[in-house]
């Protein structure tokens, strides 16, 4: 099987845009959670979220932006950053050998809500003829392929909050099978519209700490009260090791393996014994040829819902035994919020950066963590990180664990 390496990182998160600033935000524990400004949330029970502020140079021109949903704008920004970081010149790439895989849970939610509301209020003439292409879940991946002229495989996976992780797995399979040499892989989500935020609020999944936004996302804390919804995107440039070596690319980490499973239990509730999450962790260790003792860091799914974090802690204790008390864990969502289908990709970037810089950033707002696991709070932990896992679990019972190692 071909080795897969990471050669470029692009992120657009509420905490920071661009890999370098994202690393700083993680290490400093700088939260990107604020009051919602993208729409009038004043009448809603949840009025906080993670919003991304894109710098001008990453915004599409007005005429182009008008043709895409917010989710594609975010994906486009992450893709541009990743490609620039990788130094790739697609003109020099064999035609058909470069592909795209993105994870996306909700598709173009804003486009759908705006058009459907407008139709309800003003009738058929209010519906844009672009509403279908703009809101389809695969629009962002398609935009990237068109923009760069990538004629290899291009697909989109949708497994709710595990989508970003699943997209990277799909990319891994594309390269290891020989279907592609390069894949732009990641996730994008733009769920900050009143209908989606209200849906999650009505599900009682969201934190209601409206008055203290930066303190609202509290993964693994005893007083956590739900996740903070966010938008975001991340794209990683993945290549076969041979392709990266042939072009003299800077290799950031090896994407050493992955594990997946399904709870097959409940659409939103994790299995109380976390058997599915544990199975995915075990499969990832096998796939990457790692033993529990080899693992230096886990980037947790860590949403800050009561049930997710408890189940995740159970899975980690089950698989790692006494090593669970040693392995430093962090939950990036404490500063980014939870960007659903983008989260797994954003946190894959974080895991790669932990390896690159030998640092485990803190989980902010941590008070009274789950027993038997080592969640890093307060200050960043400088420690050797040669092997890191990144967990993603999604509504539907989808469990994905990615394994990255020092190249």
């Amino acid at each position: 099987m071909r080795e897969i390496v990471v050669t470029g990182l692009g992120v657009a998160t509420p905490a920071a845009v661009g890999a370098a600033d994202f690393l700083t935000a993680q290490v400093e524990g700088r939260s990107g959670i604020t009051e919602i400004t993208r729409f009038d949330a004043s009448g809603l029970p949840v009025r906080i979220a993670g919003e991304v502020t894109l710098p001008g140079e990453l915004l599409l021109e007005p005429q182009e932006r008008n043709k895409v949903d917010r989710v594609t704008q975010l994906a486009a920004a992450a893709a541009r950053l990743a490609v620039a970081d990788s130094g790739l010149e697609f003109d020099a790439v064999r035609p058909g050998s470069a592909g795209v895989v993105l994870g996306c849970g909700m598709g173009g939610a804003e486009t759908m809500q705006d058009n459907f509301m407008a139709m309800h209020e003003r009738g058929l003439a209010a519906v844009r003829s672009r509403v279908v292409p703009m809101s389809m879940a695969n629009n962002a991946a398609s935009w990237i392929a068109i923009h760069y002229g990538l004629t290899g495989p291009c697909t989109t996976v949708s497994t709710a909050c595990a989508s970003g992780g699943d997209a990277l797995v799909t990319a891994h399979q594309m390269i290891s099978s020989g279907e592609a040499d390069i894949v732009l892989a990641g996730g994008a989500e733009a769920p900050l519209v009143s209908g989606v935020v209200s849906g999650f609020a009505r599900l009682k999944a969201l934190s209601r700490r409206n008055d203290t936004p930066a303190e609202a996302s509290r993964p693994f804390s005893g007083d956590r009260d739900g996740f903070v919804i966010a938008e975001g995107a991340a794209v990683l440039v993945l290549e076969s090791a041979e392709h990266a070596a042939a072009r003299g690319a800077r290799v950031l980490a090896e994407f050493a393996g992955y594990g997946r499973s399904c709870d097959a239990f409940h659409v939103t509730m994790p299995h109380p014994e976390a058997t599915g999450a544990a199975a995915a962790l075990e499969a990832a260790l096998r796939s990457a040829r790692l033993s529990p003792a080899d693992v230096d860091h886990i980037n947790a799914h860590g949403t800050a819902t009561k049930f997710n974090d408890a189940a995740e802690a159970t899975a980690i204790r089950t698989v790692f035994g006494t090593d669970a008390e040693r392995i430093p864990i962090t939950a990036t969502k404490s500063i980014t919020g939870h960007s659903l289908g983008a989260a797994g990709a954003i946190e894959a970037v974080a895991a790669v950066q932990a390896i690159m810089h030998d640092v485990v950033p803190p989980t902010v707002n941590l008070t009274g963590a789950e027993p038997g696991i080592n969640v890093v709070g307060g200050s960043p932990l400088e420690t050797k990180v040669a092997a890191a896992l990144s967990n993603s679990f999604g509504f539907g019972g989808h469990n994905v664990v990615l394994a990255f190692t020092r190249a």
Binding site: Q63, R65, K67, A125, R128, S129, R130, P133
Partner: protein, 93 residues
Amino acid sequence: MSYDEAALAAVKQTLIDVLHIAEERITPEARLREDLEMDSLDMVEVITHVEDDLGHSVDEEFLTDVQSVGDVVALVSKLAAEHGVDLTAKVLS
């Protein structure tokens, strides 16, 4: 205002409002694809708005020769005259 003047004003407003094309780029001579970077879906958006405004559907066969803003204006003007639609009384949105 003649049909042509009214049609130009209406088409211009549609290109600005619906496609977010900068106003100074929109001249009768401007070519839709080459100058205004419009694709086939942009054309569909414009035509659906024209249809809403005229209250009549536009046959696809009329579109084959449409290359420039002036061609769209001529088409809208002709259809408005045929159907007796007063474009100045309409606000294309």
